[in-house]
């Protein structure tokens, strides 16, 4: 599904290498988790994959189902099936959540040469998905993320993911700012979307999210590289001993 080979990335504005040869294969139907200390390059990886400005790929490749992601505009990557759940979802005053969602859904459909969703179809689909995420009619009407609590913002991200039905989902620290109940709700939303045809890359600092979203593979990232990969037990080891032991082992 997602294939990253020897990805090297530096900041555009300064001479600072952030990613130093990342290799990663996420298969359809699998959940991969990336853990790592602050500054290891986890968020940069998610931004580079989704096409944010400010980064320069100096070497390597990233493909989604064989298509070169790095050559596409952010909206083209989205239409190709990539979704990034933001660590800090952006507030957009004056644009209704529903309007935004419908614009996004139909823009992607249009880009793929599919028919646009009718208003009635769309409304039905949103209501179904919003209900299971406990997003009420008021939240749907309000401007995008404006005045939302941390938990509401993250639930709104998952609602967007559910509506856009991407092939490859990247969750960037979706657990940050969530209390236990909110984390459970968000995780259930993510788990409901797990399917054979869909891959997940879950970026997190902490093991606790992985109690709810059970990964197939766990990677540890440090200093711009994936330094260790393993099963779910690797996350438990981090939780117990911190990153110190693993990093020392590598040194």
């Amino acid at each position: 599904m997602l294939s990253i080979k020897n990805l090297n990335v530096k900041l555009e504005e300064e001479d600072k290498q952030i990613l130093k040869g990342v290799n990663l294969e996420v298969e359809a139907g699998k959940v991969h988790a990336i853990m790592g200390p602050n500054g290891s390059g986890k968020s940069t990886l998610s931004y580079v994959l989704s096409g944010k400005d400010g980064y320069e790929v100096t070497e390597g490749s990233a493909e989604l189902e064989g298509e070169d992601l790095l050559d596409m505009e952010p909206e083209e990557r989205a239409a190709a099936g990539l979704f990034l759940a933001f660590q800090y979802p952006v507030e957009i005053p004056g644009v209704g959540n529903m309007t935004f969602l419908r614009t996004a859904v139909n823009a992607q459909r249009k880009a793929r040469g599919e028919e646009e969703m009718s208003a009635a179809e769309f409304l039905k689909a949103v209501r179904e998905r919003a209900k299971s995420l406990k997003i009420d009619a008021d939240m749907l009407k309000r401007p995008v993320n404006v005045g939302f609590s941390g938990g509401e913002k993250k639930r709104n991200e998952i609602l967007q993911m559910a509506m856009l039905e991407p092939k490859m989902c990247i969750l960037d620290e979706t657990d940050s700012g969530l209390d236990v109940d909110a984390m459970k709700l968000v995780s259930e939303g993510v788990n409901a979307l797990r399917s054979e045809g869909r891959g997940f890359l879950v970026i997190t600092h902490y093991q606790r999210l992985l109690d709810h979203i059970k990964p197939d593979v766990v990677h540890i990232m440090a200093d711009g590289r994936i330094v260790k990969s393993g099963g779910p037990e690797l996350a438990l080891e981090v939780e117990k001993n911190g990153y110190g032991n693993i990093l020392a082992e590598m040194a």
Binding site: S50, G51, K52, D53, E73, P74, E75, R77, A78, A79, F83, L84, F86, P89, V90, E91, I92, P93, G94, V95, F100, T103, A104, V105, A107, Q108, A111, P143, Q160, L164
Partner: protein, 426 residues
């Protein structure tokens, strides 16, 4: 060697080019206004409130010409049930207008109201005169002196639909001066819509007396003719528990100066004035606002948003004056510009002057580009860059548009702006 001819005095040149009726109840007010105008002189760049806006095109004689623009779109407010009053190049067009009778309101043409006991006698020029202090507004005095047409609207009840003033522009050389007087009796309410370019050069003044518990709503869409220029004034006085809300949408126009002078004289009154403008290229847009609080527990809001690109200029000069004794005043003022490129400029002069000690007044002014994080967020959801930029532009303007109370009219304005932006994108 002969002496150089004396430089013509621009004030006298303007006066000479205009004519005043010699009979009727308005003559006394017109003569007073003419004396004011002579004393003040037409504005020039040395005047404190004309530093950011060159008044030349508004004062030169003859007026600059302006090509008639074909907007290639259905006129705004077309689907709104309204009473239409049409002016063509500043002249009332009875045939194009609806029947002016409507329950709860009387509408007369200024030129037709000849009775010496006419109610408008006490209003015509009176609020304009009050609004000359402390800031001089010579173009308003010029208007009172020489207005050739306009409407007098007396609202005694709750008319069932808005009065829609439609200003058509057909001549490249038109130089129109219109003066409207609107008087709302206690408890009455009225919505006035205005749209259209009006003339090559347009000087328009509206005096609005809002009595206790009355409500006045004003929604205006200025015409899109690129070469037109306009100087408009609204002077309003608000009684106790009354409401005044005015919103203006401006796109295009080489020069627009919109002044709004509001005086809150009754307790618990509310005055909101808002503007959204989208300027591209040869566009200079100036909002000059003066709100005076002279009563207890009143609220005022000034919300101005300007989107500028390709060398367009936006100006905001807004003042809140809280007089002694105007306690519990809640004053809010915000002016913001969204600069879509590095060629455009926004000049702002927010002012607060407060003589009461128990008030809450805030003001803010910012200039910025499209928020890159928000743009990326929208694009990451699949919205193409152009469409995403439009969404964020509308988002930026939203706070001003939200000042329109009627949902139907708000949607009309939003829809129109979205169409313009989409069309610009091609």
């Amino acid at each position: 060697m002969g002496e150089a001819a004396p430089k013509p005095n621009p004030t006298e040149a303007m006066i000479a080019a205009h004519a005043m009726p010699d009979t009727g109840w308005s003559v006394a007010a017109r003569k007073d206004a003419l004396a004011r105008l002579r004393a003040m002189g037409v504005p020039d760049r040395r005047d404190e409130y004309w530093k950011f806006t060159r008044p030349d095109t508004l004062t030169q004689m003859p007026a600059p010409t302006a090509a008639v623009f074909d907007p290639d779109e259905a006129p705004i407010f077309g689907d709104v049930d309204r009473l239409r009053v049409v002016f063509v190049d500043g002249v009332f067009d009875a045939e194009a207008s609806d029947d002016l009778s409507l329950e709860g309101i009387t509408i007369e043409r200024l030129a037709d109201a000849t009775s010496d006991l006419h109610w408008a006698r006490d209003l015509y020029g009176a609020l304009e005169l009050r609004g000359q202090d402390p800031v001089e507004r010579p173009l308003a005095a010029l208007n009172t002196a020489f207005a050739t047409d306009g409407v007098l609207i007396h609202v005694t009840g709750q008319p069932s639909k808005p009065v829609s003033l439609i200003y058509l522009h057909k001549s490249e050389r038109s130089d129109a001066v219109l003066h409207h007087c609107i008087k709302l009796d206690a408890g009455a309410s009225l919505t006035v819509l205005e749209n259209g370019p009006a003339a090559a050069r347009f000087n328009k003044l509206m005096e609005v007396e809002v009595a206790d518990n009355a409500q006045f709503h004003h929604i205006r869409a200025q015409g899109r003719d690129h070469e037109r220029c306009a100087a408009t004034h609204i002077f309003a006085r608000l009684g106790a528990e009354s409401v005044f809300k005015s919103f203006t949408l401006t796109a295009n126009g080489v020069l627009t100066r919109n002044e709004c002078i509001l005086e809150l004289t009754g307790d618990d009154a509310q005055a909101h004035v808002a503007g959204a403008c989208v300027g591209d290229g040869a566009f200079h847009h100036d909002d000059t606002v003066f709100v005076t609080h002279d009563a207890v527990n009143c609220e005022s809001r000034q919300v101005f948003k300007k989107v500028l690109c390709n060398g367009a200029t936006g100006v905001f000069q807004g003042k809140i004056l809280v007089k002694e004794g105007a306690q519990k005043t809640d004053g809010y003022q915000i002016s913001q510009s969204l600069l879509l490129d590095g060629d455009s400029q926004f000049l702002a002069k927010p002012e607060l002057e407060i003589y009461a000690d128990d008030v809450a007044c805030s003001h803010g002014s910012t200039s910025g580009a499209i928020d890159e994080d928000a743009l990326f967020y929208l694009r990451a959801r699949g919205v193409p860059e152009g469409e995403a930029t439009d969404m964020l532009t509308l988002s930026f303007l939203a706070e001003a548009v939200e000042e329109i109370e009627a949902e139907e009219l708000r949607d009309e304005i939003n829809g129109r702006m979205a169409e313009w932006l989409a069309r610009r994108r091609g």
